[in-house]
């Protein structure tokens, strides 16, 4: 007579209600562990988002000394001449501020061909054309436009916390020429013309921050990187050329090895949770030894008793885990608005939810396995004697 899982449900519910306080504490511990996991996953996602969208066919050249040390703008023309480089564009960090000096905007001064390399920006052609024809114009993302209520045609005064204008004016007035949409790129960036920026700053003129090279053949990346770097070897501004992914990763690593931190913290927390849950289950089975023997006496199979204990463990971790992930989702959604300017991708990725669910099952199964095995192995006659 097979015992279906449904037959165990009434028993499962009753068993879980036995020690409500202990159950609540155990679920709360698991909830906190999974909430921490979700929040760390959101932080990791935010800090490594650039790594995920990095193109395979793109290289980035920076000053060998540091990402923030510039290079002569003449390098851009020379890099464009390197065999295998289809296009090259430059970027400079502007250090943008709008109204509130404490809120750092993501503003880049770029060469006009930047959007020929990055095709994952959706820009109205008329707006792009308008931007290309007006060096005082800017292209902005939907996120920042919504936040500040910017519309196409608005004149926006941007300040910089790095540069001053030669003419002494306090701000760079820019006209919003277009608002881009993108599902993978940060929707909070402002793009200015390099020429507009370069002609007006008091120092660092004719310097470029970094160069992005789009390759003819993505497999030729290492050879082209060597060609570029050897071209500027022994010059005052030597270059370091890497894949876009490597640069994004190294940028993320400046904060720390996020993946390793996440793994370490999550491992420690889950190990503690494993002990807590396993202890709860072991106690629960020990207390119910005579009852489990009665169930077997009544005709419940060894397998049914094993399933009952395992299901109990999985249900506890399942409820705690799902509540934890749910709470982490609410918290990240609540914090995302405030962090938009610094961590635009602060959200729990789908892969983390799947990983979380896998952890729920693994934790429940591991914590419940030994008590369930012991319950299955109970000898009825011996166990009844303990009642």
């Amino acid at each position: 007579m097979p015992v279906g899982a449904l037959a165990l449900l009434p028993l499962l519910g009753a068993t879980l209600r036995r020690h409500r306080l202990r159950l609540a504490f155990t679920i709360a511990s698991i909830l906190i562990a999974f909430m921490l996991f979700g929040l760390l996953a959101a932080v990791e996602n935010a800090l490594t988002a650039g790594v995920e969208v990095a193109g395979q066919d793109r290289l980035i050249s920076t000053n060998k000394v540091s990402l923030i040390a510039g290079m002569p703008r003449a390098y851009l023309g020379r890099i464009r001449e390197v065999a295998g480089v289809r296009r090259a564009a430059s970027l400079n960090w502007f250090g943008g501020i709008y109204r509130d000096p404490h809120v750092q905007l993501v503003v880049f001064a770029i060469t006009p061909n930047y959007f020929d390399i990055y095709k994952d920006f959706t820009i109205d052609p008329a707006g792009l054309s308008s931007w290309l024809g007006d060096r005082g114009a800017a292209i902005v993302g939907t996120g920042i436009a919504t936040r500040y209520g910017w519309k196409v045609g608005d004149l926006v005064p941007l300040k910089s916390n790095i540069y001053r204008r030669k003419d002494g004016a306090g701000a760079w007035p820019v006209r919003i020429a277009a608002i881009y949409r993108s599902t993978v790129q940060d929707p909070n960036t402002v793009f200015l013309h390099y020429e507009y920026y370069n002609e007006s700053i008091t120092y660092g003129t004719d310097q470029i921050g970094w160069v992005i090279e789009q390759l003819e053949d993505k497999n030729a990346g290492p050879a082209i990187a060597r060609s570029i770097d050897s071209m500027f070897a022994n010059s005052p501004s030597e270059t370091k050329t890497s894949t876009e992914k490597a640069v994004a990763q190294s940028f993320a690593n400046q904060i720390g090895n996020i993946g390793a931190i996440l793994t370490f913290v999550v491992s420690a927390v889950f190990f503690a949770m494993l002990l807590v849950t396993a202890n709860t289950m072991a106690q629960s089975v020990r207390e119910r030894t005579p009852e489990l023997a009665v169930l077997k006496t009544l005709g419940f199979t060894d397998r049914a008793v094993l399933t009952l204990v395992l299901a109990e463990s999985l249900l506890i971790t399942g409820v705690g885990g799902l509540l934890g992930l749910g709470l982490a989702t609410l918290v990240t959604q609540g914090m995302a608005a405030g962090l938009r300017s610094v961590l635009p991708f602060f959200a729990i990725p789908a892969a983390a939810y799947l990983r979380g669910l896998a952890y729920v099952v693994a934790l429940g199964a591991t914590a419940g396995l030994l008590p369930a095995w012991q319950a299955m192995q109970l000898r009825i006659v011996t166990a009844l004697r303990t009642s």
């Binding site: 037959a7 009753a14 036995r18 009852e291 009665v294 006496t297 199979t301 060894d302």
Partner: protein, 228 residues
């Protein structure tokens, strides 16, 4: 002549305690007819509880055969034994062994979870069994809200709800006062005489044994004498 419901032949049970072998049952032969009501008596260690456990398939004999309604119980594996117990045997314990988190009705319904019956039908049968033991008004009470006698009657309802062939009772009145014990024994009488249930009851209480049709006295693992 109708074959006995229970046929026990050469039943032997030994336990090991380190290197020492402790014999509990020594080649016991026993027949129990359908509808019989048997009391097993004997001093502690005589093997009566062990015999009850072996009849119920809760333990395996060292040697010998147990045939119950044609089923060789000692030859069944663990899953077959569980299914056979669910179908054929009702157990009544001295300490009732009800699940404290379940109501009286849910406790009685427990064995029916192993059947294909609908939830409504399970509940209907559980309520009918509770009515039979006179506890309809206690269906929603948990064991701690019942007296010892009432708990034992819930235990009896749980044992009979699947309409088993055989009721095995281990000191069913051992923890009850005289009045509650008598009520339980009255129930056994009714189940045996009116419903035709076969009952095997281990007891130390001569008054309880006097209610049975036969009393078997075990001593040192063998049948010492029988009274009718």
């Amino acid at each position: 002549m109708e074959a006995p419901l229970v046929e026990v032949r050469g039943l032997t049970k030994e336990y090991r305690r380190g290197d020492e072998v402790v014999p509990v049952l020594a080649g016991l032969d026993l027949d129990i007819a359908r509808g019989d009501y048997v009391a097993l008596m004997g001093p502690s260690g005589s093997g009566k509880s062990t015999l009850l456990n072996l009849l119920g398939g809760l333990d395996q004999p060292t040697a010998g055969h147990i045939l119950i309604d044609g089923v060789p119980v000692e030859a069944l594996d663990s899953d077959e034994l569980a299914a056979w117990r669910a179908r054929s045997v009702g157990f009544i314990f001295q300490m009732y062994n009800l699940l404290p988190v379940l109501t009286a009705e849910q406790n009685v319904e427990l064995p029916l979870l192993l059947t294909d019956l609908s939830r409504e039908e399970r509940r209907r049968r559980a309520r009918a069994a509770l009515a039979l033991v006179g506890l309809s008004d206690r269906a929603t009470h948990r064991p701690r809200e019942l007296s010892g006698g009432q708990e034992q009657r819930v235990g009896i309802a749980r044992a009979i709800v699947t309409d088993p062939l055989l009721l095995l009772c281990d000191e069913p009145t051992g923890d009850l006062d005289r009045k509650a014990g008598d009520a339980v024994l009255d129930l056994f009488d009714a189940l045996n005489r009116e419903a035709g249930k076969t009952i095997v009851m281990v007891t130390h209480d001569p008054r309880a044994a006097a209610r049975a049709r036969r009393t078997l006295h075990l001593e040192k693992g063998v049948l010492a004498r029988e009274e009718s």
